[in-house]
Symmetry: C2
Subunit: 176 residues, 2 copies
């Protein structure tokens, strides 16, 4: 279903045109750096350390191989300046609606306020959701990210829900 | 990955043993009734009307066919008394952690306070998450469901996030 996304595609930001495309293993380092370029993520362990590289590579391969998931990158002049993950979730509620879940939205700190984030989100709700026939787009945002909340509200997202997380302690033998 | 769930399985509630198993098309009517047996869901259109049955059946088939999704039912003495959906989501954040998303948790109104909900959630975080190697279990709950929020906090879930939804208007030609 996620293969119906019409990619790569060009999207217009306020003052530039950027490319949205599927991530490949060649984007691994750029994605790791985007994740660590954020204090909240860094606080959860995403610090771009060399020893975590195999875990990130395995995760990227799992996403690429998963028919319901897609990791996207945004590039400008060949440089990766943003990333986000989309998951298509079939569901029973709301009369059998399919949902499109957005996770791990990151825009390079040098590019914030360039309009890339809002152009990307508009593409998700106006184009990607239609491509995959999702009647609902959803995401959660850390309660501390107040600027992000204002950003999502401006785009028409409604903060109707509370997001709960439960940290699982996996057995040491588990390959993450 | 979701096929690693060790099902069917028996779980103990306060005063009974119930069975958790994968849903089949034969459970369709019971699941539709559980969805409508809830004022918030009913307010979103889940009213168990006959004309919506084909949309629910199509959705159940999509979930059954999806390798990342599983719709579960809880049965007691052969009667379906609860349902929930699980989605395994590979991810880059938190050093490449896989997540387990819980959606559409419903317990029959006649069975609430029987302990089925908490037994089911404990099974998700203590057993299902380990089976699918998920380091994080997550869900969102409508801001109006204050009893549910207390319930999730008691189980160890942390309400660290804000859940945003965006309603998409799909073209009329789209089969939902």
């Amino acid at each position: 279903m996620i293969d119906r996304l019409d990619l790569p595609t060009s999207i217009r930001t306020r003052d530039a045109t950027v490319l949205v495309r599927r991530a490949t293993l060649e984007d691994l380092q750029a994605i790791i750096e985007l994740l660590s370029d954020d204090p909240i993520s860094a606080g959860r362990g995403d610090i771009a350390s060399d020893e975590d590289r195999p875990a990130y590579a395995a995760a990227l391969n799992r996403i690429i191989d998963d028919p319901g998931n897609e990791l996207l990158v945004v590039s400008r002049d060949e440089a990766v300046v943003g990333t986000l993950q989309l998951t298509v979730i079939p569901g029973m509620a709301r009369r059998g609606s399919t949902r499109l879940l957005i996770e791990a939205v990151r825009v390079a700190s040098t590019e914030r306020s360039s309009g890339i984030g809002s152009a990307l989100m508009r593409w998700v709700v106006e184009r990607a959701a239609i491509d995959v026939e999702a009647a609902l787009v959803q995401l959660t945002s850390d309660a501390a990210r107040e600027d992000a909340h204002r950003f999502y509200r401006r785009l028409g997202f409604v903060d109707s829900h509370v997001g709960f997380k439960f940290q699982v302690t996996l057995p040491a033998s588990t390959a993450r």
